[in-house]
């Protein structure tokens, strides 16, 4: 009897314990309100205007002040096709009119931080500025919307986009995180107002900026998603030196840096902080590529360009470099793992991706000999004075080319002069270059590889009408299978047959953060998922 009573008592205690454990688990998963999120940012924003800027230094501190029409699903930011409404109602609308019309219903409970209601006319004014900017207004991503014919507001809560032709690139382009919704009345007064001022409808309101130090945001009590944001506010702390940012997280002066750290810093933080640090990793929609100057001899010869790419051991490099740099995945011109991306088997058919590097380099030497390249000469490699990943990959590339007898001298410049050399002076033989995008949208992203009179971001000075034709056909095709086939043809021409340019490795995003930061999920771009409305602190 006594035993039975004891067993019963144990059972009751165990049940209570299990019950409490479950409650605890539920409680841990339930977002908590309050707290200030402190995060470090490597640079300061050049201006506050999302439409003109292209840098994370603007997105990270400023994005939480604004809303978008649609956005990448914050609960599933790794997906390349999961978009949800931000200030529109319901689901992202399907097109009508044979894929040429998109009608968005705007929420009626959205207010700007100055108290005014957000209407469809504000959305229209915003997109007019982005797609059809008046003279003197910079719109960095205007080219994304070449398919748009008009944007109109038939009433206060409806926005209609009419396209010139059906395009699968339209919805991803709308979700670009730089497309902050501005107030029409403000734009009517001064189109430049948002460069130096902030009036958004996002989860946080601008509190203050201490130049060179910090931008502070506070909770927006009128935010249209009830119960959000969870945080009372945030401090975006500027720290240029990477070691300083790592130490800030290590010393708990900051909880996270959203751009990403190299593997070594991750390892140091994990070693020092153990379970107090959580590491999130993702393929990054950024690729380091090399731009070959087609106007410089001997690189005007396709055999020499093919030799350059054949000399590079990408499969081995992925293994080695991923230990010391923020590059990892071997890929073609499309973001790896996307439906339109090449499989490993397909990649292995392309020059420079052959599985046998010895055979590849033997072919490179043969091509160089055939082309009569002067191997005693030292060629000019232009690079950016940024360690991760530019200088590290640059040093690796020079070592790879040395294996086939080509000598390159690395010339490194700070960002401004580097761009100047790449885009204007063009005195290099080969240059480091990159293609970083926000929303994964390969149909737009691969425009880097078009002829220079069409691309806008191609600096190798080549014209390849075959590639241009394939691109146009692909963009106007509604059939994903057909698009994929055309993409493979474009890739083969660009990287192999014509060897216009070549890919080194795709970046790998590593974000180690304090484990008490909850709700934030890594995405394939450091521009995405930065509204912070779903972030909370488990302290």
């Amino acid at each position: 009897m006594k035993n039975i009573r004891l067993k019963a008592a144990y059972a009751i205690i165990a049940s209570i314990a299990i019950g409490m454990g479950s409650v605890g688990a539920v409680a841990a998963a339930t977002p908590k309100h309050g707290g200030i999120l402190q995060f470090v940012v490597p640079d300061e924003p050049p201006s506050y205007d999302g439409h003109r800027e292209t840098t994370f230094a603007m997105i990270h501190p400023i994005r939480p002040f604004y809303s978008l029409l649609i956005r990448v699903n914050p609960d599933n930011p790794s997906s390349t096709s999961d978009f949800v409404c931000d200030i529109c109602e319901g689901k992202v609308p399907a097109p009508t009119d044979g894929g040429k019309t998109y009608t968005f219903k705007i929420r009626k409970d959205v207010k700007f931080h100055n108290g005014d209601k957000l209407l469809a006319q504000d959305v229209v004014a915003t997109y007019q500025k982005i797609i059809f900017p008046p003279e003197g207004i910079v719109s960095a991503r205007k080219a994304y919307y070449v398919m748009v014919d008009s944007v109109t507001a038939p009433d206060h809560f409806t926005v209609v986009f009419k396209l010139k032709y059906p395009s699968g690139a339209f919805i991803p382009a709308l979700a670009v995180p730089f497309n902050f919704i501005y107030q029409k009345s403000q734009l009517d007064q001064d189109m430049h107002w948002y460069e130096k001022n902030i009036n958004g409808s996002g989860a946080f309101r601008f509190k203050e900026r201490e130049a060179g130090a910090v931008i502070r945001g506070v909770r927006n009590p009128d935010y249209f998603v009830k119960g959000r944001p969870y945080l009372d506010g945030y401090d975006a702390i500027f720290a240029k030196k990477e070691s300083l940012r790592v130490q800030a997280i290590r010393g708990d002066r900051a909880a996270i840096e959203f751009r990403g750290f190299p593997p070594k810093s991750r390892d140091d933080l994990v070693k020092a902080l153990g379970k107090d640090i959580t590491v999130e990793e993702s393929d990054w929609n950024c690729v380091l590529l090399t731009t070959i100057n087609h106007k410089h001899k001997p690189f005007d010869d396709v055999r020499v360009r093919r030799a350059l790419t054949l000399a590079v051991d990408r499969w081995g490099g992925s293994e080695y470099l991923s230990k010391i740099a923020i590059v990892k995945t071997v890929g073609g011109i499309v973001f790896p793992h996307h439906n339109l991306a090449a499989t490993r088997k397909e990649l292995e058919q392309i020059a420079g991706y052959w599985p046998d590097i010895k055979k590849s380099r033997a072919e490179a030497r043969k091509l160089l000999k055939e082309a009569g390249v002067d191997l005693s000469k030292t060629y000019y490699f232009n690079n950016r004075a940024v360690d991760q990943p530019y200088k590290i990959v640059g040093t690796w590339l020079i070592d790879q080319w040395k294996q086939v007898g080509l000598k390159f001298e690395q010339h490194v410049f700070p960002t401004g002069p580097f761009y100047d050399m790449l885009r204007q002076k063009k005195e290099y033989d080969v240059s480091a270059d990159f293609n970083c995008q926000s929303v994964v949208n390969p149909l737009v992203d691969v425009s880097k590889f078009l002829s220079d009179d069409r691309s806008g971001s191609q600096y190798g000075q080549w014209q390849d009408r075959e590639v241009d034709a394939l691109y146009d056909k692909m963009n106007q095709s509604g059939d994903p299978k057909e698009q994929r086939k055309l993409m493979r043809q474009m890739e083969k021409l660009t990287l192999d047959t014509h060897a216009n340019s070549f890919i080194t490795l795709w970046w790998n995003r590593i974000v180690p953060h304090r484990s008490y930061v909850k709700g934030w999920k890594i995405s394939p771009s450091h521009y995405l998922n930065q509204s912070l409305d779903n972030v909370w602190l488990d302290k």
């Binding site: 990477e242 070691s243 190299p262 070594k264 810093s265 390892d267 140091d268 081995g316 293994e319 080695y320 230990k323 010391i324 690079n383 004075a385 200088k391 640059g394 040093t395 690796w396 020079i398 070592d399 040395k402 001298e409 690395q410 010339h411 490194v412 410049f413 002069p417």
Partner: protein
């Protein structure tokens, strides 16, 4: 006539300097100095060197260090166990071992080979910029003193502008204008050296300008260039050599600083400052040897050149010699 070598120039000034010394600090030390100078003028090279070593033991030690460094740089291809730019990806950031005596860097490159080849980069840039800087300074300083008047006034104000900037700031500005790479680093280091040497040489040349042999050369109808280069400049060798040896250490340090800041020579060239830049911060905890050995090389090289420069100055500067 005036001498054209260091020994004879020193010998010419001996009696005055020795008297001054004897007046301020009479005794055996003055006699010894006098003896050393006289021996330096007359005795065979090795005897004079022996005397100098006894009087400047630290200088001799550092001179030995400099010679070893030069030998390492010259013999780098024979001494380095590996190609300094060859990456061994299976041994990235490996600790010192029998295979890699000083370990490897983040690319798996042998640190010992890179430190040895780095001596070549440091000495090439150091010697070239120090020689160029002090030689140009010598020519400008003598020219300025020789012509005097408004030319000297204007020239010295220009030198003042250059001298107003600290060495490293001036070098940074020059690299910012010309860009990176060994050639531009030499220019960047040379330019701030020129006014420093010119100023010191000018003060010496102002005295020489008033010497009778300069008047005699003028009277004989020699051209300005001949008087400056053949009659005045050789007599400014003492300050020139002092500045040259002082600049050597500074040039090595400047090259390392510029490379550390990413503005000097670039990867994959082995250079000490660059090696520090690549490993100092990121690998300080997990692979400290990446930063320690090039750091040590810089420290020893600069220490050796500075000590050697001090000894040369003590030997050649009559004011210091009199103390």
């Amino acid at each position: 006539m005036h001498g054209s070598t260091l020994v004879s120039a020193t010998a010419e000034k001996d009696p005055m300097d020795a008297n001054a010394h004897a007046m301020t600090r009479p005794g055996a030390g003055a006699d010894a100095d006098l003896e050393l100078e006289l021996v330096a003028a007359r005795a065979p090279f090795f005897t004079a060197l022996g005397k100098w070593v006894r009087h400047q033991p630290l200088g001799a030690l550092s001179g030995g260090g400099v010679i070893v460094m030069i030998l390492i740089a010259v013999l780098a291809p024979h001494l380095a166990p590996f190609d300094p730019v060859a990456a061994h990806y299976d041994n990235m950031a490996a600790a010192p071992s029998f295979e890699y005596w000083l370990g490897t860097d983040q690319f798996g490159r042998d640190l010992m080979s890179r430190v040895i080849w780095g001596a070549r980069t440091a000495l090439f840039i150091g010697f070239t910029s120090a020689i160029l800087g002090s030689t140009l300074g010598l020519v400008f300083g003598v020219t300025s003193a020789y012509f005097g008047g408004w030319f000297d006034l204007l020239f010295q104000r220009v030198m003042d502008v250059f001298l107003a900037f600290p060495l490293i700031i001036m070098a940074l500005a020059v690299v910012a204008i010309f860009g990176t790479g060994p050639g531009n680093v030499i220019i960047a280091i040379t330019i701030p050296f020129v006014p420093r040497c010119a100023r010191v040489v000018r003060s010496n040349a102002l005295t020489i300008r008033e010497m009778p042999y300069v008047d005699a050369a003028r009277a004989l109808g020699y051209g300005h260039l001949r008087i400056i280069l053949r009659h005045m400049a050789p007599n400014c060798m003492a300050p020139y050599l002092i500045m040259l040896t002082t600049f050597l250490g500074q040039a090595i340090l400047l090259e390392a600083a510029l490379s550390y800041l990413g503005l000097g020579v670039q990867e994959p060239i082995p250079a000490w400052g660059l090696m520090l830049q690549g490993g100092a911060e990121e690998y300080a905890e997990s692979a400290p040897w990446i930063a320690i050995f090039p750091g040590l090389a810089i420290t020893l090289a600069v220490f050796a050149f500075n000590l050697f420069g001090d000894s040369v100055r003590d030997t050649l500067d009559p004011k210091l010699r009199a103390r």
